[in-house]
């Protein structure tokens, strides 16, 4: 972050305090996102976007105002401070908002980058995407392919009137491929992507033709596959499927802002059993493979939060405001998409802790079931107030006599998260956490990067939709 930005942040902080704010938090952000898309052998887009601006949040007698501006100059900042104060004063008759106190901190974090993606010749980046995309288009059975290369550099600076001064810079690079295959009247698509925390060196070190060949081959096979018979199955879930399930169906319900408004199925259950004793779930700021969040957007250090300990609910995720309403501290989970939003409680890297079984042992004894594979999953949706969830899963396999056998398409699973986690009877040791530069977690109109995952697990009862 440049000195100018820090100076503007200091200006906002000092002016707000001078004009009567009880507490001030200032965020400055500069973010670049570049995306190259090839669609069926044609360069569909080469687009670059930039987000930059400053947001100031003030607390006056319990009222809160947050105002942002993209006008990064003295006038723009002072105007924002004045407006934020005006809003906060007008709200203090409605509610009294409080914040838990935190220790002053000054720190900086930067992801190690050997090759800055910005410095790589556009022709080189485009050439790679083109080669892979056109190669896929030549395969029999493949009707359409989209290949993307993207990177993101997100620089953030947070400062507050209680001594926070934290900056971070995170670089992500990723490659994604979607193939559509047609067999008879059936068209099916399969997607896969890989994202790395770091620079272009990760793109150079991978064999993307092999990666996309696997996607294409699977698309061709799955277009010839059947949909599963609807019903309730014994299910083995792979790392990505576990990550999706736990992030969407349990993670959101463990976000403290939903708990305090009565919108979470987990409300009032701290200390109670919410899952099989084999299940422990954590939210951790910095973890291998995940999206690094060393500090949240309120400048609170994000360590490891044990949400579920051997089946017992231990802690909710919180921010400084939500922590005050819960009567607890902040867990460092206040996050924003960008400066045009105020922070809300979000997950960082949310995952199931591994245990000691091998993956093969989870299949043992399953005479008929389903192996739920997360790769290529479209995502999921949950009603956290009642724990209902649904996920569209990637191509998966019917399990027969302890072996994954027949490939099936169009798999959608659903259920109640507490019932599902209570019915977990086996957890493997193969922990894997991933993140994604092409997408993230959506909540209240904001998308943030997250990490998710876990080991393979086995569930005794899972509702599966199909034709």
């Amino acid at each position: 972050m440049t000195t100018t930005y820090e100076e503007l942040a200091s200006l906002a902080l000092e002016e707000a305090l001078k004009r009567g704010a009880d507490h001030v938090l200032v965020r400055v952000q500069e973010k670049w996102y570049e995306s190259i898309t090839y669609d069926c052998g044609v360069l569909k887009s080469y687009s670059v976007g930039r987000v930059t601006g400053l947001g100031v949040k003030v607390l006056v007698s319990g009222g809160v105002g947050y105002v942002y501006t993209t006008s990064l100059n003295r006038e723009g900042v002072l105007r924002s401070v004045e407006k934020a104060l005006s809003i906060a004063r007008s709200l203090n008759t409605y509610t009294k908002v409080g914040y838990v106190s935190i220790k002053p901190v000054k720190d900086s974090f930067k992801v190690s980058v050997r090759v800055d993606p910005y410095d790589v010749d556009p022709e080189v980046k485009v050439g790679l995407v083109k080669e892979v995309n056109t190669s896929s288009m030549r395969k029999d059975g493949i009707k359409s392919v989209i290949t993307r290369l993207a990177y993101e550099v997100d620089k953030r600076y947070v400062t507050s009137s209680d001594g926070v001064s934290v900056e971070s810079e995170v670089t992500l690079v990723g490659f994604s491929h979607t193939a559509v295959a047609k067999y008879g009247m059936v068209s099916e698509r399969v997607s896969n992507s890989k994202t790395f925390v770091g620079g272009y060196e990760f793109i150079v070190s991978h064999d993307w033709l092999t990666f996309t060949d696997e996607v294409d081959t699977l698309a061709i096979k799955v277009s010839q596959a059947k949909t599963p018979t609807p019903g309730t199955y014994v299910a083995v879930l792979d790392n990505e499927a576990v990550g999706l399930l736990v992030h969407e169906a349990f993670g959101h319900a463990s976000e403290g802002d939903l708990v305090i408004t009565g919108s979470s199925v987990l409300r009032g259950l701290v200390g109670g059993r919410v899952a099989s004793e084999l299940i422990s779930i954590v939210d951790e700021g910095v973890v291998d493979g995940g999206y690094p969040v060393p500090y949240d957007d309120e400048g609170v250090s994000k360590g490891r939060t044990v949400v579920v300990n051997e089946g017992v609910l231990n802690e909710f995720l919180s921010s400084r405001y939500v922590g005050s309403r819960l009567g607890r501290g902040s867990t460092g989970n206040a996050r924003v998409q960008d400066i045009t939003y105020d922070s809300i409680v979000r997950q960082t890297n949310y995952y199931v802790m591994p245990r000691d079984l091998s993956v093969d042992e989870l299949f043992e004894g399953v005479s008929y079931g389903i192996y739920v594979v997360g790769r290529g999953a479209s995502g999921g949706e949950v009603d956290p107030s009642i724990g209902t969830y649904t996920f569209s899963i990637g191509p998966s396999y019917i399990i027969k006599n302890s072996e994954p056998t027949e490939l099936v398409r169009g798999v959608v699973v659903s259920g109640n998260i507490l019932e599902t986690l209570m019915s977990v009877d086996a957890v493997a040791k193969d922990l894997k956490v991933i993140t994604n530069v092409f997408g993230g977690c959506g909540k209240d109109g904001q998308t943030v990067r997250v990490g998710f995952g876990g080991p393979h697990i086995r569930v005794r009862k899972l509702v599966v939709g199909g034709l």
């Binding site: 887009s45 987000v51 601006g53 407006k83 709200l91 995502g379 949706e381 209902t388 034709l467």
Partner: protein
């Protein structure tokens, strides 16, 4: 500042010697009032300037842009775009940017009450929505209530000499309600969105949310099997948005990712289904004078009595087929390459009263809300959604509420039979105006 940015960008683009160029500038002023069970908690407000430049050299095309802090920031955007575009391969399908820009007359797209924001009024409104639920039913309380208001000015110009500008307001209101009764709990949300607040009735919104939450109490699953189903307007809207709208977009059709490819002139749905896209319809969320590359919006029939009669085009996809854009170029933000998407979707009403349809159900579900419809697959047409709020009807009588079952099917099979019928009442939901729909047969995964 919006015109300073435009002027400077156009001048710079002229100097760089691009064959074609386009500049798109947006000034967005927004305010959001957020309330929880405790009342109004905070207000988020701000203004952002967004710029996108699309530059063309030969058939090489690059889109570059983002937020700008000052007018001079566009210098970097244009020079970066210039550097990149020279290195790109040619797009053999590229023909040109729009050669003629224009603007339609669209009514009710600026709400003065939003443009000249009286913040206190909206703070009071959120506070009212927080308090009101308990008055409708003492078992109910509002968990959160929000109002998002914005005033947007847009200006687009390109190297063919055209300039178009417009202004628009947007309003989105949402409320989540929870009902606690004995040991059971149920939640439901309602929302309103449009270009203005003229149709917004907070009492009606809260009442519907409370009724939905109460309806969900003591829900249970039905057994796995085949059922008749009535999808209420918000569920039918979700189905169209996830499965049918993508399949109507020309880019998906041209790339072989739409089941509607090659189906023009053929019957694809029940004869009772007629679908229109209309960006000029007054006051709806998708109403605007021109699309995201400056082509006037217009009304066009897409499905006529079950027969596919048209797709949605932007300039790029229209040029590929040597036809006119339908004014459906869409960009979530100016620095993104445009592609076709819906403006407002209007589905013709049917002749059935909802009560009559429900009375005629032998073994069916009336589905008020689902989650996960967006996870359906528009490439294959496979519908998948989990029922979040429904009732089971047997012999015309409502037996019990239902949730947690999965509805599945090929949407082109589900909606093809002429037994599919629509209700006479429609609802406006954001970009959609649709009735409820009866489908005679759908697969349900539940118990067993």
């Amino acid at each position: 500042m919006i015109y300073d940015i435009l002027e400077r960008s156009l001048k710079l683009c002229s100097r760089y010697g691009f064959n074609e160029f386009e500049v798109y500038v947006v000034d967005n002023v927004s305010t959001e009032v957020l309330g929880s069970d405790k009342g109004v908690e905070r207000v988020v407000s701000g203004e952002e300037f967004l710029v996108g430049v699309r530059v063309v050299m030969g058939r090489r095309v690059c889109v570059y842009g983002g937020m700008v802090s000052r007018v001079e920031d566009v210098d970097v955007l244009v020079s970066s775009a210039s550097k990149i575009v020279k290195t790109l391969p040619e797009d053999r399908e590229w023909v040109s940017l729009p050669k003629k820009l224009g603007s339609s007359v669209v009514e009710d797209v600026v709400d003065v009450g939003i443009k000249d924001l009286d913040l206190g009024r909206y703070v009071e409104l959120v506070n009212y929505m927080v308090r009101k639920s308990g008055d409708v039913d003492r078992r109910a309380f509002t968990t959160d209530a929000n109002i998002y208001l914005s005033y947007v000015r847009r200006v687009i110009a390109n190297s063919y000499g055209g300039v178009v500008e417009d202004e628009k307001t947007k309003a989105s209101v949402s409320v989540n309600v929870k009902v606690v009764d004995g040991g059971d709990e149920s939640g439901y949300s309602e929302s309103y969105s449009g270009s203005n607040l003229s149709r917004f009735n907070p009492d009606e919104l809260i009442t519907k949310a409370v009724e939905g939450a109460v309806r969900g109490l003591r829900s249970k699953r039905v057994t796995t099997g085949t059922y008749e189903v009535v999808l209420m307007p918000r569920v039918f809207t979700s189905l169209i948005n996830s499965l049918i709208a993508p399949a109507l977009c020309a880019d998906q059709v041209q790339k072989g990712r739409s089941p509607l490819k090659g189906m023009l002139g053929l019957k694809v749905f029940s004869e009772n289904i007629t679908v229109v896209d209309d960006g000029t319809y007054p006051g709806m969320l998708g109403s605007r004078c021109f699309d995201d590359e400056g082509i006037p919006t217009k009304r066009k029939v897409l499905i006529d009595k079950g027969v596919l009669v048209g797709y949605l085009y932007d300039t790029y996809t229209a040029n590929i087929e040597s036809r006119e854009s339908t004014g459906n170029a869409f960009r979530p933000t100016p620095h993104v390459t445009p592609k076709p998407w819906i403006s407002n979707i209007l589905v013709d009403r049917g002749s059935y009263e909802l009560d009559m349809l429900v009375r005629e159900l032998r073994n069916g579900l009336v589905v008020y809300d689902v989650i996960g419809m967006w996870l359906s697959n528009p490439v294959s047409g496979l519908l998948n959604a989990t029922v979040a709020n429904a009732v089971y009807v047997e012999g015309g009588e409502v037996k019990h509420p239902v949730k947690g079952v999965v509805i599945t099917g090929d949407v082109y099979e589900l909606l093809k039979t002429d037994e599919v019928v629509l209700t006479s009442n429609k609802e406006v939901l954001g970009r959609y105006e649709v009735p409820a729909i009866y489908i005679p047969k759908i697969s349900v995964a539940g118990e067993g």
